[in-house]
């Protein structure tokens, strides 16, 4: 199989990898493959984002950048609301962005929605990553490991929320960028930077069960203010970050997703392979060649890692299971 490039064995390989991705999540409780055993721990943390409270000050954007040593500039510049003209997504420059939508109930109070990684309970990015560079932890976070990542960008495709982004400006060792739930700060007993700075406490940090309870009580007490939907409570099997809103979430830039978690997504990818096989082959084989040349040049001294990858290719099943 090593040098065999006929379509049958290629198909076999793809199938194996994709099926494994699905398998990882479906059986993670027993096998503990890409995630620790207790990713659904009762104590796992989350954040409740109340979009009816958020004022769109974008202080969270500033704090997030600042705490992750990114170019953040002066906080005063963040009151500039002209950025809302465009719908933005988290990028390599910022792990979180705030968008603005009109409010039919009161045009003078537009709805602002903060976007970052949802830290899914069953993350599609984790199951998609074949080298285990993304992991789900018991504290609710999904974190990317720069050492393991091979830059394949599979996670970008898998994530239903289009969160992981690629550092296109860096030719050498480009990174996958996404919110890390302020891992360092939380280890030091601090709140995530965005939660800490939010002037109106639109972001409430707590155990997931508690913030869901709070969210439900809020809806119960203010049926006029909130729609009866906690986004992220059930979507893709639940997410650590959950949202409240006064307007239909699908009109606020949230994707309409089922309650099924990652395997649903992985399956779709697997099916897609056969539906759109031919055109990308040419393009990506060219890209692949270029990428391979780059990788060779940069990582000439990392022969050991390459050897590992070689093994992975020849024996995908056993290799992925060990990760």
């Amino acid at each position: 199989m090593e040098t065999n490039s006929n379509s049958h064995s290629r198909r076999h390989f793809i199938k194996n990898v994709a099926a494994l991705g699905a398998g990882v999540v479906a059986t993670s409780a027993n096998q503990a493959v890409a995630a620790p055993a207790n990713i659904l721990s009762e104590d796992r943390k989350g954040v409740l984002v109340d979009t009816t409270v958020c004022i769109g000050c974008r202080n969270c954007e500033w704090a997030c950048k600042k705490s992750h040593d990114k170019e953040s500039g002066n906080i005063e510049e963040y009151s500039d609301r002209s950025v809302f003209k465009q719908f933005r997504r988290p990028s390599a420059a910022t792990y979180t962005v705030v968008n603005e939508f009109s409010n039919p109930k009161n045009p003078a109070l537009p709805i602002n929605v903060k976007v970052q990684c949802m830290h899914c309970d069953r993350p599609a990015c984790v199951s998609a990553c074949i080298v285990g560079a993304l992991s789900k932890y018991e504290d609710g976070s999904t974190i990317w490991d720069p050492v393991k990542c091979i830059g394949c960008r599979y996670c970008m495709v898998a994530c239903s929320f289009q969160i992981p982004t690629f550092d296109y400006n860096k030719a050498i060792e480009p990174n996958i960028n996404k919110c890390d739930f302020c891992n360092e700060r939380r280890k030091a007993g601090k709140l995530p930077a965005c939660v800490d700075i939010c002037p109106v406490e639109a972001l409430v940090f707590g155990t997931r069960s508690e913030i869901i309870k709070i969210a439900r009580e809020k809806i119960q007490r203010n049926p006029e203010r909130y729609i009866n939907h906690i986004y992220g409570e059930n979507e893709v099997s639940g997410t650590s970050w959950v949202y409240l809103a006064g307007r239909n979430f699908y009109e606020l830039g949230f994707p309409k997703l089922g309650f099924k978690h990652a395997p649903g997504v992985s399956e779709a990818i697997q099916h897609g392979i056969f539906a759109y096989f031919v055109p990308p082959v040419m393009f990506y084989s060219l890209l692949g060649t270029m990428m391979w040349i780059y990788k060779r040049r940069e990582e000439f001294n990392k022969e050991a890692e390459l050897a590992e990858e070689l093994e992975l290719q020849s024996e995908p099943e056993s290799e992925v299971e060990e990760l």
């Binding site: 090593e2 040098t3 390989f13 793809i14 004022i55 000050c57 906080i75 005063e76 009151s79 609301r81 045009p107 003078a108 091979i150 394949c152 599979y154 495709v157 898998a158 709140l191 939010c198 002037p199 109106v200 406490e201 707590g206 913030i211 709070i214 809806i219 119960q220 007490r221 049926p223 009866n228 939907h229 059930n234 309409k256 997703l257 309650f259 099924k260 649903g264 997504v265 399956e267 779709a268 990818i269 099916h271 897609g272 392979i273 539906a275 759109y276 990308p280 393009f283 990506y284 084989s285 890209l287 692949g288 990428m291 391979w292 990788k295 060779r296 990858e309 070689l310 992975l312 290719q313």
Partner: protein, 418 residues
């Protein structure tokens, strides 16, 4: 080996590219799944009387609706399910804006930004048209008005996440209005930046605000609404008459006024607009539009207010031929007219209302004619034949040569001002 690496990278690229297509397909596939489980929300407005036997006596005697404090149907001691905000109707000590603190300096938590010098009195004055003190001091048990920090904790890492922390509480109160009219979230709009002479700047600001009052609200004389009602496009609203003639208190209609009604820079209804022709576009629902009028006009037909042209001010004399001045113009309409579906036409004879006009009982001075001593003791009917008071009084019964108003049964005096 090189070949192997190439193959591997190639496969990954392939997967990525196909994944993009697959993902798009997958998304729409999951999008069609309809499996949203609605949360069950109890929306009962039923009033539950607390069980007197096991309750603390005071609690049971409480006249409030249970739902003012508890959000669940059956609060228990173990789970009282207390509402956090707002607890309206609990403030029992009221203050006028003059009694309130004039300026408050908020600096207990300043880390990144400097203090806020808050013009409390001016805000209290403005709040009189929107919920009063309770608009901000919402979570207040019975008793005096409490400061925000009495209830809201100063730390964000805390046990009770249900109640917003102090920083959040302040900003929510301020920003709900402020960003509506200033359209900005610029922190320095309220915060004094942390410059070296920060303390001095605070003092300057305090001096600047002290003694200031909210300018007197300009009341329009009349407003003409152009509506979409076909059978009567125009509603002419005589604002001044409603205050001065009909004695309607400001907050009877303006009880929930938003700051931007006056302070929106995009809104032309700002200070000094009196006498000018103003055109305002409103975005209100049918009910919201009619709510202030329905305080009194609930039972009136649409055409009482709606007309195909602008209406003249309502005048009691023009419509009914009964002059209200000088004795009846300060009375509430319902003092004479019984309020049914429509104001009924009344008999304009004085004694149809004033049943007790008897000699000695009626002070004739109020009609600006002081009766002479020999007339004062006569029965009313001696001059006002058959008690028809609005007709000319008759002198002929006693004096053949005299006639009203050439001769008077007393002397004219200045009209008594009420």
């Amino acid at each position: 080996m090189k070949k192997n690496v190439f193959l591997f990278v190639f496969f990954l690229c392939l997967l990525t590219s196909l994944g993009i297509y697959g993902f798009q397909g997958g998304k729409s596939a999951t999008g069609t799944q309809k499996q949203e489980k609605p949360n069950i929300i109890v929306k009962s407005r039923q009033v539950i009387k607390p069980d007197n036997k096991n309750q603390n006596k005071l609690h049971a005697k409480c006249t409030l609706n249970c739902k003012t404090c508890h959000y669940c149907e059956y609060p228990t001691k173990k789970n009282p399910c207390l509402i956090y905000c707002p607890r309206d109707g609990m403030v029992t000590v009221f203050h006028t804006p003059e009694e309130c603190p004039e300026v408050i300096t908020l600096d207990e938590m300043s880390v990144r930004f400097g203090a806020v010098v808050f013009s409390h009195k001016i805000h209290a004055e403005m709040s009189q048209m929107s919920n009063g003190c309770q608009g901000c001091h919402h979570y207040n048990t019975t008793g005096p008005v409490l400061a925000c920090r009495k209830c809201h904790e100063q730390t964000r890492i805390r046990k009770d996440l249900n109640k917003v922390d102090l920083k959040g509480a302040y900003h929510r109160q301020c920003m709900t209005c402020h960003r509506q009219w200033s359209h900005t979230t610029d922190c320095n709009f309220c915060h004094i930046s942390k410059v070296p002479n920060h303390k001095q700047k605070i003092q300057e600001k305090i001096i600047q605000i002290s003694g200031k009052e909210h300018p007197k609200t300009v009341e329009p004389n009349k407003l003409v609404f152009e509506t979409s009602y076909k059978k009567g496009k125009f509603v002419t609203f005589y604002h001044e008459d409603h205050i001065k003639v009909f004695n309607v208190a400001c907050n009877k209609c303006h009880w929930d006024e938003n700051c931007i009604t006056c302070h929106d820079p995009n809104n032309k209804l700002t200070h000094g607009a009196k006498g000018k022709n103003i055109s305002i576009k409103t975005k209100k629902t049918f009910d919201e539009h009619h709510a202030p009028c329905n305080n009194c006009h609930k039972q009136d037909h649409c055409n009482v207010c709606h007309n195909d042209k602008e209406l003249e001010a309502w005048d009691h004399f023009k419509v009914t031929k009964f002059e209200l001045k000088p004795h009846h113009d300060k009375l509430a309409c319902t003092k004479c007219h019984e309020r049914t579906s429509k104001f009924q036409k009344l008999n304009s004879d004085c004694n149809s209302c004033h049943k007790n006009f008897k000699p000695g009982k009626f002070n004739h001075n109020v009609v600006a004619l002081k009766l002479s001593d020999n007339h004062a003791d006569l029965a009313c009917e001696s001059c006002h034949v058959k008690s028809r008071f609005k007709d000319k009084p008759v002198c002929k019964e006693c004096h053949d040569d005299k006639e009203f108003p050439k001769s008077l049964p007393g002397e004219k005096i200045a009209k008594k001002k009420k």
